[in-house]
């Protein structure tokens, strides 16, 4: 498959948006959807729809099989040991809440420490904050360095004998830093501490191998992986899913229900209460197929090329400051332009059809540290090209012109 042709698989680029060709540089926020994913949703609803698991009629049996097929595909794609280590959630945020809540219930007590990093998205901080309030635990932050990285050493420094779990992002959605997850996991395990990885930005862009990473939990959002909204994945080692209590209660996750007590179902049902996002799970199989068709190695290469090109172009442009300079970096560039607030940049760029994001990107801790209230961010997907970067640069120049800057 030719990476040049990939854009054609995304119908959103067929039409002009407000008289402009769309230059979509907001994939770290949410990725656009290839036709095969959208078609799958359409076909499922119009030809095959049924709830899964509960009925024995033809449509229900077929839907249940399709639903479970996605679980198998995900297992294979992330190289999990067991199909039942894949739990479907509504998104990565829910996946992390699930872990924090159930792990917290069972294993966290007053005075215990949860170690996260200054790079974390609010989704990997707020759920732990809840436990800080309810269980009186403490939250420690591993420091980000001047390059916008969190190193193995900065994690090591904050581990104490009270550290009960570590939560780290795989790839920062602000600086693009790729964390040494495998090394962190290995260090943590040597001290008996489990590790949760926020894989929101890792999953769409990096080769995933759960058995190699050896992390205990890995959270993924489908919509950032060219999949539908409303579906996420929690990978968790089987022993955790067996040991931890259930998260939400309802239909499908039970064993026996009596007035006096309730027993819970086996994996994976135990963590999938109520009617799930059936159509989204089924269509997500197409996202996996799409990624497999291109090949994650090709995606990594393509995005690396874009990143290097973008850094080169933006560095040449006076008055642009790129936030962070991590040695290992994914396709995310946050930047500021001297004299122009990121929001103003975003508005002006938008007039040219260039979609970027401006704000704190749900990383207020990091922005506090950087002394910035907001940054602008361009982030890449498989459909981006060097032309998109050129257009970004050109439109940034237009911003400077409007603001009378050189």
């Amino acid at each position: 498959m030719n990476i040049e042709n990939i854009k054609k698989e995304f119908p959103i680029f067929d039409d002009k948006i407000q008289n402009n060709d769309l230059v979509y540089l907001d994939s770290a926020n949410s990725a656009q959807k290839p036709k095969m994913v959208v078609d799958r949703i359409y076909d499922f609803y119009t030809k095959e729809f049924s709830n899964v698991g509960r009925s024995v009629h033809y449509l229900a049996v077929a839907a249940t099989n399709l639903y479970e097929n996605t679980r198998s595909s995900v297992q294979k794609y992330i190289n999990a040991k067991d199909k039942n280590e894949i739990v479907f959630t509504k998104g990565a945020t829910e996946a992390i809440n699930l872990v924090a809540n159930t792990f917290g219930q069972k294993y966290l007590h007053e005075g215990d420490e949860v170690l996260i990093t200054e790079l974390e998205h609010h989704s990997n901080y707020v759920p732990w904050h809840f436990l800080r309030k309810s269980k009186k635990i403490n939250i420690e932050f591993a420091e980000v360095n001047d390059d916008g990285e969190v190193t193995l050493e900065s994690i090591e420094k904050k581990i104490t004998n009270k550290t009960k779990i570590i939560g780290i992002t795989h790839l920062s959605n602000v600086t693009g830093a790729i964390l040494p997850v495998k090394e962190i996991v290995s260090l943590a395990h040597s001290k008996g501490i489990p590790v949760l990885v926020d894989g929101c930005q890792g999953a769409p862009h990096l080769k995933l191998d759960m058995q190699d990473l050896d992390c205990d939990f890995y959270a993924i959002s489908g919509h950032k992986m060219y999949g539908p909204t409303g579906i996420g994945i929690l990978y968790a080692k089987k022993k955790w899913l067996e040991e931890l209590p259930p998260y939400q209660g309802g239909g499908g996750m039970i064993g026996e229900v009596k007035k006096k007590g309730i027993s819970y179902g086996d994996l994976p049902n135990k963590y999938e209460a109520g009617t799930m996002a059936t159509a989204q799970v089924i269509a997500f199989n197409e996202s996996i197929k799409f990624l497999e068709k291109i090949g994650i190695e090709n995606i990594e290469k393509h995005e690396k090329d874009l990143l290097n090109y973008a850094i080169e172009v933006l560095k040449k442009n006076n008055s642009i400051n790129i936030v962070g300079n991590p040695k290992k970096k994914g396709g995310v560039i946050s930047f500021t332009v001297e004299g122009i607030h990121p929001h103003d940049l975003a508005t002006i760029l938008d007039e040219d059809g260039v979609a970027i994001r401006a704000g704190h990107h749900c990383c207020q801790i990091l922005h506090d540290k950087l002394g910035l209230s907001a940054t602008a961010r361009a982030s890449f997907g498989v459909y981006n090209s060097r032309e998109d970067i050129d257009q970004l640069n050109e439109s940034l120049n237009k911003c400077k012109k409007i603001f009378n800057l050189k």
């Binding site: 698991g53 509960r54 024995v56 229900a60 049996v61 249940t64 099989n65 199909k83 039942n84 039970i254 064993g255 026996e256 179902g265 086996d266 049902n269």
Partner: protein, 155 residues
Amino acid sequence: MNLKELYQEIILDHGKNPRNLRRTENFNKDAKGHNPLCGDKVHVYLKLNENKKVEDISFEGQGCAISMASASIMTDLVKGKEEFEVKEIVNDFLDMIKKKDQLNNNILNEDDKTKLMCLSGVKQYPMRVKCATLSWHTLTSAINNSQEEINTERN
């Protein structure tokens, strides 16, 4: 017509009048099985003598024609067999239901095999395979004396 294959006379007969639907007195092995999605339940009781031969086997439970017939036929066929033979029959049956076209064991005679093959109609009904296999998994669990309740949602 697949339904005719699924609901053969012998299945309907065993479903309606299950053999060995009772509780063996002085059983020395037992296990419970459960299908949480549909509510089917079975409890298998075994009495092995000192030579590990099945002196008696019975079951209690409620369920659909397929699950009742399957338990009924199963208990009929393994009675009098030795423990290792029972295991072989169970494995052979489960293999047949999942993938093979016929039974391969040398323990059951042709008549018994024909009887058992009557259950093969469920292969066309994936959601019903669990109905046919619940009692068999439960028998295995009883023989192995495992405390774990059999649950057909466990893969």
